[in-house]
Amino acid sequence: MISKRIVLKFPHRLVDQPIVCNLAKYFDLEFNILKAYIIPKEEGLLILGLSGEEENYNKGINYLKKLGVIVQSLSQGIIRNSTRCTHCGVCITVCPTEALVLDTHTRKVHFYENKCIACELCIPACPLRAMEVHY
């Protein structure tokens, strides 16, 4: 079993096709849509949790890539700019998934990318603008 969070960018020619359904149909993958921005006639953006057998998962990703979908891991999508982060801690009660946590010993704020669901609440809440969206 493999389970990942990924960001998919669709060129506009693919926006109205049932690509994500095909992932389930042909590759037996389970998906969970975390976020979608689809503007008809323009490009679309989809953030997914995707899981299944490793072989099927890889086949599914290849299918997407062949179609021209840009696949990116979510951890490359929401990024903390470590030179701007002061470890102030403002974000820790804003993040709904505890992806941003203050270590009570070191007093540093950790960013657990695997817990991030790309809700983007931290983006305007971080006073130093250290949390960035890259997709």
Binding site: R84, V90, V94, L102, T106, P127
Partner: protein
């Protein structure tokens, strides 16, 4: 046991001074006791790194050819309005000022991506800043318009002058209402969803010298990565606030006005900051050395988070409507544990002021002193203490007929 600042400075010059941070002193005093530690330790360094809205810089841009008098005119730095009600080419930029076309809270909550604080950070970082100005023109200053890039290395003076920094303690902000609110203490979730606090606690300068016995006007300090001085008590200085037996105040109390040459400061210690729904500000790094001139001062510097208390204040109603009464008091030890209890509810806490950066400032200042690069100063005058009777007043509004 008593020491003078002159004796401590001699030790600094000889390189045999003993300096520790306000965090390190706690364990040393616990191990060795007050009497012995006071003999060994000469200086305790403190630090704080938080958003401080009463911050800004004055700049003398140099005279243009032909001359222009900005006084009485208008001027902008990177589209942020700066104050020019002084002589011809002296201007002051405050960190909360915003470009005229910023939507502010018209699109609620406003993002406040760029304001005076960000201009100051970029200016200190050596970036070119766009200056645009208009003036009315006089016989001796005929020019009416100026548009140019300016750079910190070319201007005559650039001075950070902050009328109020380094608050001695602060409120813990919560929200009792049923809607999310955006404040200068961050976003506060409804129904006591979170509690935000803003002080370095046991490392904070004025909590380590709670009765202002060594910090005074003229004290030399770490300011924004460079050297600065305490210029005066800060605005809203309130030395008569309620205190605990250890001298620390359990409400916002003393404040400092600080000044220093911006040209030798560093952008990593002066950060442009944006509070969603509230506005822009500047996160300022300040570190203050406390000379251990006697055992009493040492005892103050050994204060721990568990002995410093802050009031819990509702920012949905009590704060904006100026209604008295806090919802209780909590220690910094409790706040730093990650949760506190308010009205029988467990509430997660978040700091606004960076403790790790405060430690870093105290460490840098410690190194400067150890290396003999930073001598201590004797204050030229004291700050008003509790005996002054000074309190801080609300505005008495009087109708204008």
């Amino acid at each position: 046991m008593t020491k003078t600042i002159t004796e401590i400075n001699e030790k600094i010059s000889k390189g045999d001074v003993v300096v520790v941070t306000a965090e390190e002193i706690i364990n040393i005093v616990e191990e060795k006791g007050v009497e012995e530690t006071a003999q060994i330790v000469d200086v305790v360094t403190t630090g704080t790194f938080g958003p401080m809205c009463s911050s800004g810089t004055y700049i003398n841009i140099g005279h243009a050819k032909p001359r222009i008098k900005l006084g009485g005119g208008a001027c902008h730095l990177n589209d942020v309005p700066a104050y020019c009600g002084f002589a011809a080419v002296d201007i002051y930029l405050g960190c909360t000022n915003l470009p005229e076309d910023d939507p502010r809270n018209r699109v609620y909550p406003g993002k406040f991506e760029y304001g005076g604080g960000h201009v100051i950070e970029e200016f200190v970082a050596g970036k070119d800043i766009k200056l645009t100005a208009t003036a009315y023109g006089t016989d001796c200053y005929p020019r009416r318009k100026l548009e140019t890039w300016i750079n910190i290395k070319d201007v005559n003076e650039a001075v950070l002058f902050n009328p109020r920094n380094v608050y001695q303690n602060y409120n813990v902000a919560v929200n009792l209402s049923n809607k999310l609110i955006y404040t200068y203490m961050g976003a506060l979730k409804p129904g006591l969803g979170n509690a935000n606090y803003c002080s370095a606690g046991q490392l904070s300068p004025l909590l380590n010298d709670p009765l202002y016995k060594t910090i005074g006007i003229g004290s030399k300090i770490f300011l924004g990565g460079g050297v600065g001085y305490v210029a005066w008590q800060g605005t809203q200085h309130n030395p008569t606030a309620k205190r605990k037996d250890n001298g620390t105040t359990c409400a916002p109390a003393g404040t400092l006005a600080v000044i220093g040459d911006l040209k030798q400061m560093k952008p990593e210690w002066l950060l442009g900051t944006s509070f969603q729904g509230y506005g822009t500000t500047l996160t300022v790094g300040v570190g203050i050395p406390i000379p251990i001139i006697n055992e009493e001062i040492l005892r103050y510097t050994a204060v721990k988070d568990k002995d410093i208390y802050a009031p819990i204040v509702d920012y949905s109603e009590a704060y904006p409507q100026v209604k008295p009464g806090a919802l209780g008091e909590v220690s910094y030890e409790q706040l730093k544990s990650g949760k506190i209890v308010v009205q029988d509810k467990e509430v997660p806490t978040a700091p606004l002021s960076s403790y790790t950066k405060a430690v870093e400032i105290a460490e840098i200042l410690k190194d400067w002193i150890k290396q003999g690069r930073f001598l201590l100063t004797e204050p030229v005058a004291s700050l008003p203490g509790p005996e002054s009777g000074l309190t801080f007043k609300l505005l008495k509004e009087r109708p204008i007929e």
